[in-house]
Amino acid sequence: MSVFTLEAFLAILGLLLLIVEAFAPQISRRTIAAVSLGGTALALVLFLTVASHAPDSLPSFCTPWMRLDSLALFYKGFFLVTTLVVLWLTSECASYLGKYTLEGRLNELYSLPLIVCAAMMWMAAAQDLVTVFVALELVTVSFYVLVAFARKSNLALEAGVKYLILGALSTGVLVFGIAWIYGATGTLSFDGIAKALTAADLNKSPVLLGAAFLLAGLGFKVAAAPFQSWVPDVYQGAPIPVTTFLSVGSKAAGFVVLTRTVDALTVEHSVVGPEVKGLLLILGALTVLLGSLPAMFQQSVKRLLGYSSISHAGYLLLALACVGSTRSGMNASGIVAFYLATYLPMTVLSFLVLALLRVQGSGEDIRDFRGLAKRNPFLAFIMTLSLASLAGLPLTAGFMGKLFVFVGLVDQAYWGALVCAAIGAAAGFYYYFRAIVSMYSPEASAQEPIKLAMPTRVIASALAAAIIILGLYPKPLQQILSQPPEVAAKAAH
C-alpha cells in the first residue's frame, strides 16, 4: 500500500460521510464523529507503518508533479496528527457548538476536515504550481465553509465574510504571481523554475515581481504581514476547532508550499536569491512585530492567540530566510518543520483549554481565566505549560524552536531581523505571562470546579508531554529533519 492510497481513503471517507449526512439523516452525530475520528486514527497508524517501510512508492501517474521526500513525509504525518486532534476537539466542543449551527448539525465539521487533510497531504508532496494551486484552493474553499459554519453566531458570519474576501484576494494575487513566474521562467514545476533561475542572462525584475506576488499570496495562508489583519477577527469568530485547524494546519500547509517555493527561488546561483531572502526577512520581521505588539493590549484570549499566531508566522518566515544556514544542524526547511512540530502541541493545548472553558459556559477573556488553578489544577497546569512554551521559555518545546531560528539568524548575520525577533520575544513574555497570572489569581470568576473526561485527560497529557519532551530531548526530531530531502527522492528514482 502506498501513502497515496491513504490520502484517497481519507478523501473518500469524507465524501461518504457527506453522502450519509444527505441521505440518511437519522444516523446520529456520535456515530459520524466516531467514524471520522476512527478513520483518521486508522490512517495515522497506517501512515506510520507505510512511512517507515516503503516511503517512496507513488503511483506512476503522479510522479510528474508529486514527489515523496522526507519533508513531504514529515508534513503528511503532521497534517494527520493535526486533523486527528481537530476532530477530537470538535467532539469536545459539540455541546456548545451545536447551539450556533443550523438545527444543531455538526456533520460537515466532521467530514470536511478529512477532505482538507487529504488536500493538505497532497500539497505536501506537490512538485509543481498547478498541483499546489488546486490543493490549496480545495483547502481554502473548505475553510470558507468551516469558518462560517456556526452561522447563528454573528461573529462567525463576520469572520466568514472577512476570511472569504481576503482569501479570494490572496487567490488572485497568488495566480498573478504564478503567471509572472511562469512567464519569466517558462515552467510551472519547482525543479524547472530552479533550473531556469540559474541562467545568468535571465532578467531579474519579472521573476521578482512574480515572486513578490507569490509570497504575498502564500503569506495569507500562513498569516504573514501584508495579509495578517484577518487573523485575529477570524480566530475570534470561527468555532474553536476550526480556529485550531486554521492556526496549525493551514499555517503548516502554507509553509510547506512556501518552503518549496523559496527553495526553488533561492537555489544556488539563483539570480534572485538575495532579493527573495531580503523580502522574507522584511516580511518576517514585520510580521513578528505586527503580531507581538498589538497582542499586548488584548483582552480576549482567543484574539491573543490570534496575534500570537501571527508572530509565530513571523519567526517561521525568518527561519525560512536563513536558507543556506547549516549551523543549527538543519537547513531552513528543517528549522521551519521543527518549529511547526513544536507549535502544534502548544497551540492545540491552549485552544483545548479555551474550548473546555467555553463548554462550561465561561467566556474567552483573560479575566475569565481567573481562578482556573482552583477550578481545575490540571487545566491550569497544561495551560501554563503551553503558554510558557508559546512564550519560548527554556525547557519547553517553544524555546528549542526559537533557538534554532535565532541560531540561523546569527549565522547569517541578519542583525536587524534578530533585533525585531528579540523585541517580539520580549513582548511575548509580557502577554503570555499576563494570562498565566490571571489563572493563578485568587479571585475567581466562577467557582464551580471543571470535570474532565478520561480521554480528554489522556490526550491533553500526551500533548503536554510532547511539549516537555521536545523541549528536553529534541535530538530525534532534529535527526529526522536533518536528512537532506534528496535522500528519499533518490530512492524514488
Partner: protein, 514 residues
C-alpha cells in the same frame, strides 16, 4: 543516573505530586528532608573522594542535541556543592514553615524554585544553567504578583517592576551568554558545554577587548539578578512584599545564582575580561554603590522587612569585591560568604514573616519589648542579626575577613591602587551593618511593648528548622574549614589563569607608558 540528577528531579516531582493533589506536607516537606539528607551525604562523600579529572564529581551527561551541542550535563565541584547545600537547607526551612492554611501553590512554587536553583548550580551546560534559573524565576514572580504582602495595587506594581528588571536582566544575560558561546565556537559547531568551552578558552583565548566587552554584558546580566548597584532597585520592594518562603528562597538562594554564574562561567572563560581597567573600575564603582549607598539607605528604613531587604542588597557588594580582586583567598571567602549570607538572611526573613503574621506590622517604631515575651525567638533573631553584622564565631565573619584580606593583598601587591581604596571604603559597610542591625534588634526586643503587640515563642516543631539554620551559622563560623576544604582546587585554576593574565597586563602597562 547521577545522584545529582535525583537531587534536581526530586523537588520537581514533589511539585507535580502536590499540584495533582498528593498530601501536601508529606510530599513537600518529605522531599525537602530527603533532599537535605542526600546532599549532606554527597558533601561528606565529596570531601572523602574529591573530584575526578574533569574537575567535577558525580558528573554525567545526556546529549540533548548534537548540533548545536547541548547536553543535560551535571557535575559538582566544591563551589556548586556548597551552594547546593545552602539550597537544600533553606528549602527545608522555607517549606517547613509554610502554615497549613496557605494554598497549595506556596509549596509548588517553593519546590519549583528549589529545583530551578539546584539545576542552575549543578548543570555544567550553559544552556541548562540558564534554563533552570528561568524555571526558578517564574514562580517567584508569580508568587509576588498573586500572594505578596500589601494591597493589590502596590503588589501589582512591585511584581511588574521585578518582572521587568529580572526579565530584562535575563534577556541581557542570554544575549551575553549567546555572544560568548558564538565567539568561542568560531566557525565550528556551537557548543554549550562548559568543559568544552573552557578547553576552547584555554587553547585560543579571545582578544582582551572582546573579553572585556562580553564580561561587561555578563556583569550587567548577572548583576541585575544579584541586584548590583544601579540595577538593584527591584530587590528591596520585591523581598519586602514577597511571601515569606519566597523571600527566603529568593534572597537566600536564587539570588546567589548571579554570583555563581559569574564565578562559574564568566571568570574561567573570560579571565582577562574583568581585569581590563574600564570593566574593573566600573565594577568597583558599582560595588561601592552597593555597600555605601545601600548601607546608608538601609540605615534610614523604618520597617524590619525593608531593613532586611536592603541589607541583603548591600551585602552583595562584598562578594563583588572578591570578584574584582580575583585572588584565591578572596574568591573562596566570597563563596563562604554566599553560603553564610544565604543562611542568615533566610533565617531573618523567616522570623520577620512570623512577626508579621502574629503582630500584623513590622514598623520598628511600633514594636518593642519582645525579648521578655519570646526568649527563644529573640535568641534566634540574635543569631541572624549578629551573623549579618559579621560577629566572629558566626559564619559571615570568616567569609568577610577572607574577602577583605584577599582583596587588600591582591595582585598588584605593594601598590596601593583603586582596589585597596575600595577595600578601605568597603570596611565602613561593616560599621553600617552594625548600626542598622543593632538598631532594629533594640527596637524590636528591648524597651516596652505597645498595647496588643505581644507575641509568644513559636512551638518547638516550628522552631526546628530555624534552630538548624542557626546551628549551621554557628558551625560554619567556628569551623569554616569544613566548607573551605571542599573547594581546594576548583577556584585555584581560575585564579591562576586570571592572575597570569593580569601580571602580563601589568607588565605591558609600564611598557606602553614609556
Amino acid at each position: 543516573m547521577s545522584p545529582l540528577e535525583i537531587v534536581i528531579l526530586l523537588p520537581l516531582l514533589a511539585a507535580l505530586a502536590v499540584g495533582f493533589g498528593a498530601p501536601v506536607r508529606v510530599f513537600s516537606v518529605g522531599s525537602a528532608l530527603i533532599n537535605l539528607g542526600l546532599v549532606v551525604g554527597l558533601v561528606l562523600n565529596f570531601s572523602a573522594t574529591g573530584a575526578d579529572k574533569s574537575g567535577y564529581a558525580y558528573a554525567s551527561a545526556r546529549t540533548v542535541l548534537e548540533n548545536p551541542a547541548i547536553s543535560f550535563a551535571v557535575g559538582a565541584d566544591g563551589v556548586s556543592l556548597i551552594l547546593t547545600l545552602l539550597t537544600v537547607l533553606v528549602a527545608f526551612a522555607a517549606v517547613w514553615q509554610i502554615s497549613a492554611e496557605k494554598p497549595v501553590i506556596y509549596h509548588i512554587a517553593a519546590q519549583l524554585i528549589t529545583a530551578g536553583a539546584m539545576g542552575a548550580f549543578l548543570c555544567t551546560d550553559v544552556f541548562f544553567l540558564y534554563a533552570f534559573h528561568e524555571l526558578a524565576l517564574i514562580p517567584t514572580l508569580l508568587m509576588i504578583a498573586l500572594h505578596g504582602h500589601g494591597d493589590e495595587e502596590h503588589r501589582r506594581a512591585v511584581a511588574w517592576k521585578t518582572t521587568v528588571y529580572l526579565g530584562a536582566g535575563s534577556l541581557v544575560l542570554l544575549a551575553g551568554l549567546a555572544w560568548m558561546v558564538l565567539e568561542y565556537s568560531g566557525g565550528q559547531k556551537l557548543t554549550f558545554d562548559l568543559t568544552a568551552l573552557k578547553a576552547q578558552a584555554a587553547a585560543s583565548p579571545l582578544p582582551v577587548e572582546k573579553q572585556a566587552s562580553i564580561a561587561f554584558v555578563l556583569l550587567l546580566g548577572f548583576g541585575t539578578l544579584v541586584s548590583l548597584f544601579p540595577l538593584h532597585s527591584w530587590a528591596a520592594p520585591a523581598y519586602a512584599s514577597a511571601p515569606t518562603p519566597i523571600a527566603m528562597l529568593h534572597s537566600g538562594v536564587l539570588k546567589k545564582f548571579g554570583l555563581y554564574g559569574l564565578f562559574r562561567v564568566a571568570l574561567p572563560l573570560l579571565p582577562q575580561g574583568f581585569q581590563q581597567p574600564w570593566v574593573h573600575q566600573a565594577l568597583l564603582f558599582m560595588l561601592l554603590g552597593n555597600i555605601l549607598i545601600m548601607g546608608l539607605v538601609t540605615i534610614h528604613q523604618k520597617r524590619l522587612d525593608d531593613v532586611l531587604a536592603n541589607s541583603s542588597v548591600m551585602h552583595m557588594g562584598y562578594i563583588f569585591l572578591a570578584l574584582a580582586a580575583g585572588t584565591e583567598v578572596a574568591l573562596r571567602g566570597a563563596v563562604l560568604l554566599m553560603f553564610a549570607h544565604g543562611v542568615c538572611i533566610a533565617l531573618l526573613f523567616s522570623l520577620a514573616g512570623r512577626l508579621r503574621s502574629q503582630l500584623g506590622t513590622l514598623e520598628l517604631a511600633k514594636l518593642g519589648g519582645l525579648g521578655s515575651h519570646a526568649p527563644a525567638f529573640t535568641v534566634l533573631f540574635a543569631f541572624g542579626a549578629f551573623a549579618s553584622i559579621g560577629l566572629p564565631g558566626l559564619a559571615n565573619f570568616a567569609g568577610e575577613v577572607m574577602v577583605f584580606i584577599g582583596s587588600f593583598q591582591s595582585f598588584g601587591a605593594g601598590s596601593f591602587g583603586p582596589l585597596q581604596w575600595a577595600v578601605v571604603l568597603a570596611l565602613w559597610g561593616v560599621v553600617m551593618s552594625a548600626v542598622y542591625m543593632l538598631r532594629a534588634y533594640r527596637a524590636i526586643f528591648q524597651g516596652s511593648a505597645q498595647a496588643g503587640l505581644f507575641m509568644t515563642d513559636p512551638a518547638i516543631s516550628q522552631r526546628l528548622p530555624l534552630i538548624v539554620l542557626a546551628a549551621v551559622l554557628l558551625v560554619a563560623g567556628c569551623c569554616p574549614w569544613l566548607l573551605l576544604g571542599l573547594m581546594k582546587t576548583d577556584l585555584a585554576t581560575v585564579v591562576e589563569t586570571a592572575s597570569s593574565a593580569v601580571q602580563e597586563a601589568a607588565k605591558a602597562a609600564p611598557a606602553a607608558s614609556h
